[in-house]
């Protein structure tokens, strides 16, 4: 059985004839371009008021230069775990989406596929509702 290689070797990848990574190049360009654009935009448009607090590196509200071995507020962990729920959820959406494209749209299986992924998404809604009610998103 012939198994296609998992990764294209580098010389082949940059071969201009066989190069089929243009979408990725485009994505990278957009990503980098957006970041550059925002930085230039804020520089031109934004007010230029500065101060020692504003000049420090942004570190989600904690002091950036200090020992890392200290107590963090437990909210970080709660948020991180909530993030993980959705993060993992999205990972599962990709294989679902690629498989779903191959299913005949009119067949019963397609309906079943949609229902299942909706059920799966519902579980994260439940997790979200639970976290909300529990006060994970409350920052007071």
């Amino acid at each position: 059985m012939h198994v296609p290689p998992l990764f294209t070797p580098l010389p082949l990848a940059i071969d201009p004839v066989a190069f089929n990574y243009w979408p990725i190049v485009l994505l990278l360009t957009i990503a980098v371009g957006f970041a550059v654009l925002v930085m230039i935009g804020t520089h031109i448009l934004g007010p230029q008021r500065t101060g020692p607090e504003k000049e420090t590196t942004y570190e989600s509200g904690v002091n950036p230069v200090d020992t890392a071995r200290k107590r963090f507020n437990v909210r970080y962990y709660l948020l991180a775990m909530t993030f993980l729920v959705f993060d993992v959820e999205i990972i599962f959406l990709y294989p679902w989406a690629t498989t779903f494209r191959q299913i005949d749209a009119d067949s019963q299986l397609a309906t079943m596929f949609v229902c299942r992924i909706l059920f799966f998404l519902l579980t994260s809604v439940i997790a979200y509702a639970y976290a909300w009610r529990k006060g994970v998103f409350r920052f007071d």
Binding site: M112, T123, I126, A129, Y130, R133, K134, G135
Partner: protein, 548 residues
């Protein structure tokens, strides 16, 4: 096909929906909605029980019928445990009654029940594993919630200490059996159990033995999983955790992770069953390993139990010892059922099917152990703010609580294996499977161990009746939560009822583990020992004829 798999997972799906409702409802500010969570959990378990009884048989599983035994058993035990767990999760409720303002952050009820259900779902999923990843996830789904349940079941520091010990050893064991899975993948190039089996059979037919790498994979997996069953190299947590957790949670730990562990050992053992050198059931290294684990486990469990003064620690070590007994069934292997002649040998199920004896014993052990644990949860010492704990507390309780003392006597005598209680039949099946497999020294050691265990089981059974009541005994008050004594009595009644209904359940267990174990038939059928064993069994009475 995948659709069939999902159709067989309806019990799990129902339990999952139940837990989704329960986890949200548990945060309701109204006390009556929060109280409803127990009922909803019970309803969900009952529906799951019905669904699992009428579940379609799924093709393509390594042991197709196993789920049909384990899933209903898990639901029934879940219902009993739920009854016994009343008020374990009530921390907030008592403080609310004292006038505290409701805060969703402080409730643990919904979470506790949700974790309880998740762990049961994990156990049920183990039975329908077809590949190593499924098996790993199911096993971890069984274990991870139990860490939280241990921590949140008691306010005291002992609970947290127990949970941390349990968690770290659990993580270590997961690493070990994951390494075993990795080696299995390396040896066979597949994660699917049937493909692994096929690859190992091919190796066996080529060279006359299973490859060292594959064997190491299975061995490491089993050693890692011995954490779940509390067998010896990984047993150190047992006493501390069972003592630190609330008593009903300890009963939970002694059934759910243990059953999941044994199911996994059977599935993994199914990879190499019948592939021993010279047509033995197991490769010699694997058999010796299990043999040593079994002997050391039962001996350590029983001798350590002799030294304890806390009843929960005694029951914890007894749980270790029972894992040793159950391993005899694993060593005996699926016996004649593997050779495909099991159905023909139906009338004499006393029994070469060690795996059938294992699943039967797990259910029996679950019931009787639950009863013994829950009796402790039924009595409360208001001065020390804890449930009945030490042997001294137990002394002479029959004066005030004869029914509880009776339930304790029934359950601990059954744990001892006193005929005609269910524990005796469980051991009988295990030991007869061991004898059919030619493991006579092992069975003799197990018999001696049962004799050792009589010392402490008889103490548990006799002290409430014969001991002098102490100062503690007089101040013990019955728990206000009626679910606990109800579950304790139901377990004691279960011990008595199962004793009558034991034979059909044993047959169900045998059928549940009946399959050709992925082609083991051709290999095992040439083995002389099961046939000789069949001759021996002719002289034994089938269990229908044993009059309890």
């Amino acid at each position: 096909m995948m659709t069939d798999r999902i159709a067989s997972l309806w019990p799990e799906i129902v339990l999952f929906i139940t837990l989704s409702i329960v986890i949200l409802l548990g945060l309701s500010p109204q006390a009556q909605w929060r109280r409803l969570t127990h009922w909803i959990t019970g309803l969900g378990l009952a529906i799951a029980l019905l669904l699992s009884l009428y579940a379609p048989e799924v093709t393509g599983l390594p042991v197709p019928a196993l789920a049909q035994f384990i899933k209903p058993a898990a639901c029934i035990m879940g219902l009993l445990l739920l009854l016994g767990m009343s008020a374990v999760d009530d921390r907030l409720e008592t403080r609310l009654a004292q006038g505290l303002k409701f805060d969703p952050l402080l409730t643990t009820r919904g979470e506790f029940l949700a974790f309880f259900l998740l762990s049961l779902i994990g156990l049920m999923l183990c039975t329908s594993a077809t590949d190593l990843i499924w098996l790993f996830l199911a096993l971890e789904l069984t274990s991870l919630p139990t860490y939280v349940m241990v921590a949140s079941s008691r306010m005291k520091n002992v609970g947290h200490e127990a949970a941390v010990k349990y968690f770290f050893l659990g993580a270590l064991s997961a690493a070990i059996f994951l390494y075993g899975f990795a080696l299995l993948y390396g040896a066979t190039g597949s994660l699917h159990l049937d493909e692994i089996r096929a690859a190992l059979v091919a190796q066996y037919e080529e060279t006359g033995s299973v490859s060292v790498l594959g064997l190491m994979g299975v061995i490491l997996s089993v050693v890692g999983i011995s954490f779940k069953i509390a067998a010896v190299p990984m047993h150190f947590y047992t006493a501390d955790v069972y003592e630190g957790a609330a008593t009903p949670v300890s009963a939970f730990l002694a059934f759910v992770p243990k059953t999941a562990g044994f199911v996994s050992i059977m599935l993994l053992g199914g990879m190499i069953v019948g592939l021993g050198e010279d047509g033995q059931t197991w490769p010699e290294a694997f058999r010796v390993l299990l043999w040593v684990i079994a002997v050391v486990t039962m001996t350590v469990g029983n001798t350590m139990a002799l030294l304890q003064s806390s009843v929960k620690r005694i029951l914890a070590y007894s749980s270790i010892a029972h894992s040793g007994y159950v391993l005899i069934g694993i060593i005996a292997g699926p016996g004649l059922w593997a050779a495909g002649t099991g159905a023909a040998a139906d009338s004499s199920i006393l029994t070469s099917n060690g795996f059938g004896a294992v699943v039967f014993y797990l259910l029996a052990y679950g019931v009787m152990n639950l009863g013994a644990f829950l009796v402790l949860a039924c009595l409360h010492d208001p001065e020390r703010h804890q449930d009945l704990e030490s042997l001294d507390d137990l002394s002479g309780i029959s004066r005030r609580h004869p029914w509880l003392a009776g339930a304790m006597a029934v359950c601990s005598l059954s744990l001892l294996g006193l005929p005609p209680l269910i524990g005796f039949f469980g051991k009988l099946y295990l030991f007869s499977a061991g004898v059919s497999a030619g493991e006579i020294p092992l069975v003799v050691i197990a018999g001696l161990n049962s004799a050792i265990s009589a010392w402490y089981y008889l103490k548990l059974a006799g002290l409430p009746w014969l001991g002098q009541p102490s100062a503690v005994t007089d101040r013990l008050v019955p728990t206000p939560y009626l679910g606990r004594p109800a579950a304790a009595f139901l377990s004691a009644v279960g011990v008595l009822v199962l004793m009558v209904a034991g034979a059909p359940i044993m047959r169900a267990g045998s059928e549940a583990t009946a399959c050709d174990w992925g082609g083991a038939a051709s290999v095992a059928a040439t083995t002389p020992s099961p046939i000789e064993a069949a001759d021996q069994r002719q002289s034994m009475l089938p269990p229908d004829d044993i009059d309890p």
